[in-house]
Structure formats: C-alpha cells, structure tokens
Symmetry: none
Subunit: 219 residues, 4 copies
C-alpha cells in the first residue's frame, strides 16, 4: 500500500493558532463565494475582524494563505481514504462509499475543492502546484486501488480508464454546485436544507449509479 507521508509531513508542519484558523475559515467561505481573484485580503480581514496586516504576517502572502488553506483543509482526507481502503467491503459498496466521502468532504469544506480543482489551473498564478498535484495523485491512487480490487474480483470491467473516473465523479458534483441558482430554481429547492438534502440523496445516488453503470455495464 502506498503511503501518504508527503501530505502528512506538510500537514504536521502547520501549527495553527485560533486566529489563523479563523482567518482560514473566512478565507474558504469568501474564496468559495467570490473566487480567489474576486476576494481581497481586505474582505477577509474585515469578515474575520482581524487587522489586514495579519494575513501577510501569518501566511506571508495571499497566495501562501491559499496554500495553507488547502493543506489545512485536505489534511484529514488522507486519513479517511486510508481507513476506507482498509475496510472490508464489496467493490461497488466501496466505490459508493468513496463517492459519498468525496461529496461529503467537498460539501463541508465548501469552496476549497472548487479552487483546488479549478481556479488553480489558471495560468495567472504560479502557485506551487506540486502541493496540489500531490493531493490529486493521492485521490487517484486510492481510486485505482479500489477499482483494481473490483477488477480482481471480476466485478468491474477491465477496460475502464481509471483517471477519467475522477473527472466524472467530481465534475458532476462541481457542475451541479456551480450552477446552484439554476438547479435551485429548476428543481424547486427553496431552502438550503432542501438543497443539501438533494445533494446528499439524489445527486449522490446519481453519481454512484453512473459510476456503477460505467464500471459494470458491457457494451
């Protein structure tokens, strides 16, 4: 089994105090709402009720704040993935649980995954992409292990292209999330609760069903 040491090391290095965490939480919300470029450190400092200089002081720069945010928010993921991989479940159940885990995490850590998977691809910022790529690789490898297991058991097709599964899982979810106002109206999800329920029930099931069909159905 591959190890998650790189991310562990990164995560352990961060020793965040209360105010730093508060800043990160606010930053996550605002980045989620308005994007990275659309959010100013003034917005963050105002919302977090801290001095504007604190952000540079604590994190060095706006971009490093984002990097810290991502490391902070993804540091638990590896643990959850490790646990899942060791669980004794049928392949389909495992995949379903993986999808559930992803959606849950992303739904909780509101905006961070959006930024992680989309905004960072922009040519504008020369982020230290390796940190982010590492997270993506960890995700991919976990998925690979599960699918290989399923293939070994003869449950899953053998000709599936694993790296394209993640785009389908995450892409479907993100696309739904990003078009929240559109779907809220279309599906008549008037309250935040209804909307979240829809994600956790209908959307999750849709994605699980999609991936299951893809992995099992032979043309």
């Amino acid at each position: 089994m591959f190890n998650f040491d790189v991310l562990k090391q990164k995560a352990l290095k961060i020793d965040l105090n209360e105010k730093q965490i508060q800043i990160l939480e606010v930053a996550e919300t605002l980045f989620a709402e308005k994007g990275f470029d659309g959010t100013s450190i003034r917005d963050i400092s105002k919302e977090a009720k801290i001095n504007i200089a604190m952000i540079s002081y604590y994190f060095g720069s706006k971009e490093k704040l984002l990097e810290s945010l991502i490391i902070f928010k993804t540091s638990g993921l590896k643990m959850q993935l490790e646990l899942l991989l060791e669980e004794n479940l049928e392949p389909v159940a495992k995949i379903n649980k993986l999808i559930e885990l992803y959606i849950n995490r992303i739904n909780c850590n509101r905006g961070i995954y959006r930024i992680l998977h989309f905004e960072l691809s922009s040519k504008k910022h020369e982020f230290h992409l390796e940190t982010f790529a590492e997270i993506k690789r960890v995700n991919l490898r976990s998925l690979e292990l599960i699918i290989n297991e399923g293939q070994a058991k003869g449950v899953f097709r053998k000709d599936v292209i694993v790296p394209l599964i993640t785009p389908t899982i995450l892409g479907t979810f993100f696309h739904f999330q990003m078009n929240k106002p559109f779907f809220e109206e279309l599906l008549d999800l008037k309250t935040e609760e209804l909307y979240n329920n829809y994600i956790q029930n209908d959307l999750t099931k849709h994605i699980q069903q999609t991936i299951k069909a893809l992995l099992i159905y032979e043309n």
Copy 2:
C-alpha cells in the same frame, strides 16, 4: 417543438463590427486563461491592440462585455441543436452526437463555457443571469427531447433524472480541462495535438460510454 426565439432575438440585436469581434476573441482567450476577475480590461485592450476605453465604449462595462461574449459565442449552438434534434438517428447515436457536439463546441470556444458554467455562479458579480440561464435551459430541453425519444422507443431507462445528465457530461469534460497540467503529465500528452486528440477520442468516448451505461444499465 419549443422555439429558440429568445436567444435568436438577443443574438440578432448584436451587430458586431470587426474590432468588437476582435475584442471578444481576445477576451475569451484571456478569460479562459486567467478567469474573469483575473483578467483586466487593460490586458484585453493590450492584447487586442485597441484603446482601453473602447471596451467600455463598445460594451458598456466589463460585465456587459462578458455578456456579449457569451451571447456571441453561444448564438450558433441553438442552430446546431435544432438540426441535431431533427436528424433521424437512433437514441444512443443521437446522445453520442450531442455529447460530441458539446465537446467540440466547448473545445473550440475555449474559455467561454468554463465561465458560463462556473465563474458566473460567484456571488460577487450580479450578472444579468437570465441570459445565461436561458442558454442552460435550451441545453436541458434539447437533452430532454432526445432522452424522452429514447424512453418512448424503450431504449432508455425511465427513472433517469435528466437534469443531472448535463452535469455529468459537462462536468466530466470541464474537470478534465481544468486539470489540464495534471492530466498532461499523468497521461503523457506532451503536445497540444496529443492533448486535443485525447479529448476528441478517449475522453469523448469515455463520456459517451458513461452516459450510455447510465441510460441503459438497469441495476
């Protein structure tokens, strides 16, 4: 059959001269590369080699420039969808062609769909969302028509949630696109040509297969 008049009217209203089109083309590229907030009208005016005031002059504001861009770039889509709907094809073939059409269009009009489907959801900008929602509705209805056709012919499952198909089609593609650097390395797509070929062959097939499986496979 529903009509596309709303978009037609919008599109006809725009009578764009050469310079305006040039600006829109540049804007599309830059928005795609750096996002809406990450692109300044200075960047656009410089790249398009026009006076900076021209953008406000021609389009009114940066946000209205984006609106014009979207209307301009999506104005052909309805025609293509109309033609496709009228074609005499098997349901699966029709869906496959729809997917192909989407990917082709998005791949050509590089950044516009990214913005259309993602960046606009941001709370920061109060775009006149109706324009964009209209396009999404057009897309959805086209899909609905095709799927209903397939269901009527007994080819497709009846319990599928149509509004969630689009997120899967587009989401998968976008996620792949947004993580271009990651997949370039992972899949060893060294040149732009190899990358585009991969999209038009492997990725398109993956999405087609996914949707087909979802629509046909009964649990």
Copy 3:
C-alpha cells in the same frame, strides 16, 4: 569631436506636457529634499496637486519617473558643453567657465544632480544605469578635451589624472550643498540669497582656484 547623439535621442523622445513637467519639477524638489526613497509618490501627487495615479499613468513607475526626470533635466547640458568646447578661450578660462557652468546647472536643477551622482549608486535600486552612466561619460569627455587642449598648449601639467578632477569639482560642491545647515550657521549665511551668493562667488572661486592650482602647480 565626439557626439552627443545618444542623449539627444533620449531627450527628443520625451514629449512632455505641462502637467508632466509640473510633476517632474515637484519630484525634483522633493527628491532633493528627502531623497528618492524618502519621497513617496503621495508626497509628489499632493505637492503637485495631481491625482496619485497620474504618476504611474504618465511615467509608468516611480523609478521611471526618476529616469524621465534625469533625462529631462540633463538634456540641455550637452548643448552647453558643446558650445563651451567650441569657444575660443585660454585653457584656464575654459576650465573656470566649465566649473561655473556645472555649479550653475546643479544649483538650478536643484536635486537632480545629487540623485544622479549619489543616490543611484545604491545597491537597492536596479535602475537602468546606462542612461546615467552616459551622462557621466559625456561630462568626463568634455573635461578631457579641455584639459588635453591646455596640456597641448603647455599650460597644464601632463601627469594629472583627469577622471579624478570631476570628483573634486562636483564633490566639493555637493559636500557643501549637503551640509547646507552646517555652513549656513558657520558662515553666517542667514538668507537664501546670501547662501546662493556665497556659492556663486566664494565657493565657485574656491573650486576654480583648487582646480587651477592642481592643474598648474608642480610639486
């Protein structure tokens, strides 16, 4: 005779409007008083009663403002030097006139020479030094021509190190200028007029006498 084309070209390129000149004048005064780093563009904009953004707008940056200032203020010097070189004067008279010319110019263009000869040496700023070095070379060559003339006529010693003459001329003047408060008190120069008179009479004579003695006196 060497040519001054490089500086001429530079100078001709600048087509400054009234406001730009006003900014340059203010900048010169403030740079002279408080140094380059000690002067903020806010100070300049306030004093010049123009919007702060104008400085970046007109000149690009604070450093480019300085470069423009130097080119602007030194653009007349070459003409004066050319004319002086062509005058039919005894060597000593020519040197004396050169010294007079320098002191006059520097005294009029108050701070620019201070910056040109001192502040720019700092390691902090990576100015495009070539522009400034060119001016220094022009100065040096003019002096060389005059001294060579005097040596040819047997008036001046032959073993003088020409490049060290400029430091003595300018250095003496600058040192006096920089210690203005000290000398004002010491020499009882209570008014600006008295101070300027002292420079144009006593100090100029002192420098002329010094250089003459150096060039003529044999140990």
Copy 4:
C-alpha cells in the same frame, strides 16, 4: 587647545553589549548599501539574526539607532585627531596625514560617513542634528589648527578659506565612492582589492596633491 568633551560624554554614555554592537555593524553596512530610508529594520534584524523588536528596544527608534551608530563609529576619531595634532610634523606632511586618516577611517567605517555628511541633510528627518554638527565642528577645528600652524610657518597661503577645504577633501572622496560602479569600469578596477588599492594610493595622492597645491600655489 579646544577639548573634545562633548563627544567624550556622549560616547561614554553608550555602554553597548555584544548584540547591540552586532546590530550597529549590520546597520552600518546596510545603510551604506541602501541608504537610511532604503533600509528597513526588518532588513537589519534579519541580517543581524536578532528579533525585530530588539532595535526599538535597544535604541528606541530607527533614527536613534542611527544616532547611536554615528556616535559609536566616530568616537575614536577625536583621539586620532588629538594625537595627530600633537605630532611634530611639517605642515604639508601633517595635512597629508590628516587626509590619509580621513580616507582610512571613512573607508573602514564604510557607510557611516556617507550618511553623516549627506543623508542627514535631508529635510525629511528631524534628527538631533547637534550631535552630528559637533562632529563636523571637531573636524573643522582640527583642520584649522593644522592650517594655522602652516600659515604661521609661512608655508601656506594666508587667504585660504579653511571651511571649504573639508568639502574638497571629503567631497572628492565621497564622489569617487558614490560612483564606484562608474569608476570601476572606467579605471578597470576589476577586484575589490584593486579598487581599494586605487583609493589608498592614487585617490589619496590626488587629494593630497590637490590640497597641497591649493594651500601653496599663489596665482
């Protein structure tokens, strides 16, 4: 003979510990390289590997740090001047030795004299100028004593303006120093050693010769 008590008192007041001296040394270097305004206390604290608050803590403020630095670095000068004045030398030899002493000191205490004689004149900072003026007066009186001695012996002209000698001595040296890059290239002084040798030999001789000529040569 006048006394140096004022400076002595000032110097005795400072009881500097190791860290304070270390800070002063670093400050001198950085002030020399980047000027007073161009150097931040962050730069100093980083370079000296001490906490940033130490500077305010030890010296009170950035300006008081400079004052301490100047007092610290000039405290030895009066001793050397006293000794020189008491030496039994011919007037010319004494002047030459004075010049040598100046150049040596300034060359060793790299940036402090530059700041002392130039940057402090700035209107920006309201330094407690008296401290610095005192040093200048000490210098001037020493020079006066030597020149008066020479005049009494009939070696030096009687109509020389003593306060203008210092500007010539120091100004020449400073101007050379400040234009280091220019002269390095011009005189082909490729290494630091060559450059320093040039100062200690050629430049020193030039200044000595200049002052001697000025003091002796009758028009």
